[in-house]
Structures are given as C-alpha cells and as structure tokens.
C-alpha cells in the first residue's frame, strides 16, 4: 500500500527556523561591522550634501576635517600655555571618574555584604538605601556645589552619590542570592561571621561587583560630564561645553568619539579582569 503521507522533503538551510540560523565566522564579523560602517557612510553623505550647499557649514564637518582636528588636538599644545589640553582633559576626567567609581565600588561592596549577610544591618539600612536610591543625583548637584565647593570634591561626590545606591542594592541582592546551603556549610566547618564574609561571600560577589561597576560606568560618565559642564576648568565634559559656544563640531565629535572609546576600553578591561580572576564564575559574564 502507498503511504498516505509523502515523506517530508529534506529541509534546506533556509527552511530552518530563524532562531536556529547562526552565522559563520566571516558572516559574524561582517554583520558586526555593518552598523558601524552604515553610520559612518550616512554621516559622510550628510556632510557631503551640506558642504556642497555651503562650504562654510559647521554642523557636519567632513570626516577629513574631523581627522585633521583629531591630530591637531592630540599633538599641538595650547597657544598660551603650550600644554596639550586634550591629554590634560582626559587625565582630569579619568581621575575624577576612577576616584568616584572606586569609592562607590568599595563602599558598595562593604555595605552590600553587610546588608546581605547580617539581618540586623538589613533591617537598619535596606529600606533607607532603597529610598536614597530614588533621589535624582543631578538634583543634588547644586547642594554638592554649595557644600563641597566647585573643586574636584563635588564632582567626585556626585559620581559617588549617583552610583553608590545602585551598587549597594545590587551587592546586597547578590549576597542574599548566595545559596543558604553554602552559609550553613561554612558554619558547620566552624567559620565565624567574619570568615564567612571574607572567605565565602566576598569571593562569590566579586564577579558581580565587577558587573555592577560595568553597568554603573554609563551613569558615572553622565554625572561626570554634567558636573564638568557646569563648573570646571579642565576635563572632557568641560571642553565639549566650552567649544559648543563656537559651534566647533569637529572638536566636539573628536571628544565624543574619544569618550566612547575610553568607556568601551574600561568595560572591556573589567570584563577581562573578571574572566582572569574569577574563572569559576564563567557563566553569566
């Protein structure tokens, strides 16, 4: 007897479900590059059109102009002082950002562990931190300027205020997520609360801390640039808002690209650090 149903015809690659189609290495690289190239081409075309209409147009300088500006900014000194301001700006900003994030990470780790491990501290601080984290940090900026002055301190404090509540909440949550079994196990091996904190909880939340710092870098840059834009005499954010007055788009673009690059490299370094020092936490990074 003939089979009632014809055997299914061999499925071609394109018949597969979209969720099962994975690109090969070459295609993956190509796809990764597509949006970058597309944005660059779109900008180049837009700039071309505007410059064709008006050669003195300042809104979309030609890519070559931006390139020249980059070289000038990174190699030529300031006419008055001879300092290459680009690197001074970079150093000033990185210092503020590093200090702010570093303080946030350290405090966040300590408070997060305490809240996560100690029910007494949890009762004392968990709700307080939850409320604190709702305060919009930028609304505090005037207060910070008034209290800490217009110097470095208020900028660093703004970054700390802006990122610390998130890191504390994230760290305490991660600490609470440590399986109860492990904490009980450590107790049966004679560990004190202190030893449980430094030998069991701390190493387990360290990869999470790095993750939290990675997520905080975005807001940290935001607060840094906001603070620098308002009151500063050096820094990447200050420079951008300064040259805005002259519509110097080539300088602004150079700085924006540079900030993006810095942020990306920091993120990449943190990811590498995590993989290097916490190989056991491979999944989820």
């Amino acid at each position: 007897m003939e089979p009632a149903v014809a055997p299914p015809r061999a499925r071609r690659r394109t018949d597969m479900r979209l969720i099962n189609l994975t690109p090969g290495r070459a295609l993956a690289v190509f796809l990764t590059l597509v949006p970058f190239v597309a944005v660059f081409v779109a900008y180049a075309i837009g700039s071309e059109i505007r410059l064709a209409e008006n050669a003195a147009d300042k809104l979309l300088p030609a890519p070559s102009t931006v390139g020249d500006t980059m070289v000038r900014l990174t190699t030529e000194g300031d006419r008055r002082t001879g300092r290459i301001l680009f690197w001074y700006d970079t150093w000033a900003s990185i210092k503020r950002l590093g200090l702010g994030i570093g303080i946030s990470a350290t405090l966040g780790l300590i408070f997060g562990l305490a809240i996560g491990l100690l029910p007494l501290v949890r009762s004392l601080l968990a709700q307080f931190v939850a409320v604190l984290s709702m305060i919009p940090p930028l609304a505090l900026l005037p207060i910070l300027f008034i209290v800490f002055g217009l110097g470095e301190l208020s900028k660093v404090v703004l970054i700390v205020v802006g990122t610390l509540p998130f890191i504390i909440r994230d760290m305490s949550q991660r600490t609470l997520e440590i399986p109860q079994e492990l904490l009980v196990k450590a107790q049966t091996l004679g560990a004190s609360s202190w030893v449980i904190a430094i030998r069991v909880a701390l190493p387990q939340v360290m990869p999470r801390l790095i993750q939290a710092v990675r997520l905080s870098l975005g807001p940290a840059w935001l607060f840094l640039i906001a603070a620098e834009a308002i009151a500063s005499d050096l820094g990447l954010g200050y420079r951008i808002f300064l040259v805005r007055r002259y519509l110097a788009m080539d300088v602004i673009l150079t700085y924006v690209i540079w900030i993006t690059l810095l942020a990306f490299v920091m993120d990449w370094l943190l990811r590498r650090t995590s993989k290097r020092f916490f190989p056991w936490a491979e999944e989820g990074l």
Partner: protein
C-alpha cells in the same frame, strides 16, 4: 546514656505543625536512615539536628551537651546540591574543612603546606586526586558529592548529616557512592543521619530506619497535624536482624 537524644520535639511553622512529639535516642556510631513521604518533616528533622533551626518545643542534644543554637563544628552536613564552595578548587574545598575555623579563615606557611598534604590524602581516598586543581563546576555530580563528604569529614564532626545526598545521581554512580560511604564509615565509625527517598538505599546503608509519617490525619484539613516517627526498624543484616545464631552450635551442616 545515648549519644544523640531527641526529646519531645515539636516544630511549628506559622502555627502549622510539621513535627510533633518526636522522641529518639541514638548510640554513637549508629547509621540512621530517615525515610518518609514528601512534606513529612524529614528535612525539617535534619535541620533541627543540624541546629539550623530550633525546635518549637523539646530539645535535641548531642553527647550530653546543651542544645545547640546554631550550626557548628560538631555537626557536618552534605546537602543534595550547593554543598561545596564553587569559588574554591577541589583541594581548597577540602582544606576549607580545617581552615575556616581560624581567625582569618586561611592557613599560612607550614600549616598551609601540611593542610594541603592532608587534603591530598583525603582526595586520594575520595578518588579525586586527579582533579585537585579543578573547580567544582567541572566535576560530575557523583564527584561533587564525594568532595562534599570529604570536606565535611575533614572538619572531623561528631555527627554527619546527609540530606538526600545521592538524590540527583544516576543509579550506577549511586551504587559506587554507597560503597564509598560504607568504606568511610567502617574507617571512621562516626554517627550518621541520612535522609533519603530510596527505601532500598535506607535499608542497605542504615543500621536503623526511621519512618516519618502523620499518625493523625484530618481529611478536611491535611495540614492540621504534624508528622512523627511512626516506625523504627532495626535494619542490620538487610532488615532481618536476629536471623543469625549468636553462638556456635557445633552441629555439622550439610553443604
């Protein structure tokens, strides 16, 4: 005087009774298997033995000491999962059995070297010496449980508690774990409590099998009453204890 004494223990969660009137006495070196249906308070009973929780009424005492208020060195535990520290290598996990009780939770210098050597001996006995530098995540389920038992034993507890330790293992691995556990026990002669779902396992490994069940049952309100020990079997010689003649009868036996 018995080694572990459980006296008139009740345990209630949010006014819902889980255990009621549990009494049991255990001698040093006995292997107690605990069986019962799900939700019959086996694991709760183990947590009370562990002192992870305290009974609502009654006392649990080990070796005549006053009832413990939190888990400590005298009780070792192996859970079904999450029994070893994922951030320590296999060897560090065993060393942790000895060093977590120190002030900084670490050994330094010669002490460290000696502890590592002892740990390597333990690992060899657990058949894990080739994995000493690996992280637990790379170990199979059976290996992880062997490591967990080795780690618990490194702390030299008075009582070893096992909460469905082989529940997640395949049958073959489970059998080899039985041999491993029986060997260890013959060597150390320690008191063991093991919760299991597997009756065969309970009678194979246990000297006594405690059955937890609800003696009273209200069909309109199944949670109205708690469970207690309803049977206490002597499980030596495969559950049929007094079948062996204790004296030489001097009678010729036909073969």
């Amino acid at each position: 005087m018995s080694f572990v004494t459980v006296e008139d223990v009740f345990k209630t969660y949010a006014r819902r009774p889980i255990l009621e009137r549990v009494n049991v006495e255990v001698d040093e070196g006995e292997f107690i298997a605990i069986v019962g249906a799900s939700g019959c308070g086996k694991s709760t009973f183990l947590r009370l033995l562990l002192a992870q929780e305290r009974p609502s009424r009654g006392t649990v005492s080990i070796a005549g000491a006053p009832p413990a208020r939190e888990p400590g060195l005298d009780r070792g535990i192996v859970f079904q999962r999450y029994s070893v520290f994922p951030h320590m290598t296999v060897r560090e996990n065993v060393v942790a059995g000895e060093c977590l009780r120190t002030r900084w939770g670490r050994f330094f210098g010669d002490q460290r070297k000696a502890a590592r050597a002892r740990a390597d001996e333990t690992l060899a006995r657990c058949g894990l010496d080739h994995m000493a530098d690996a992280y637990p995540a790379t170990l199979s389920g059976g290996m992880q449980q062997r490591l967990a038992i080795g780690q618990a034993l490194a702390a030299k507890p008075r009582v070893l508690l096992l909460d469905e330790p082989f529940g997640a293992l395949d049958p073959g691995t489970r059998l080899s774990m039985h041999d491993f556990l029986q060997d260890l026990r013959a060597e150390t002669g320690m008191t063991v409590f093991m919760v299991t779902h597997d009756l065969e396992e309970a009678f194979k490994l246990g000297d006594r099998v405690l059955v937890f069940d609800k003696p009273r049952w209200d069909p309109h309100d199944p949670t109205a009453y708690g469970a207690t020990i309803t049977y206490d079997f002597d499980a030596r010689d495969g559950g049929i204890p007094f079948q062996n003649l204790k004296e030489d009868t001097h009678v010729l036996q036909a073969h």
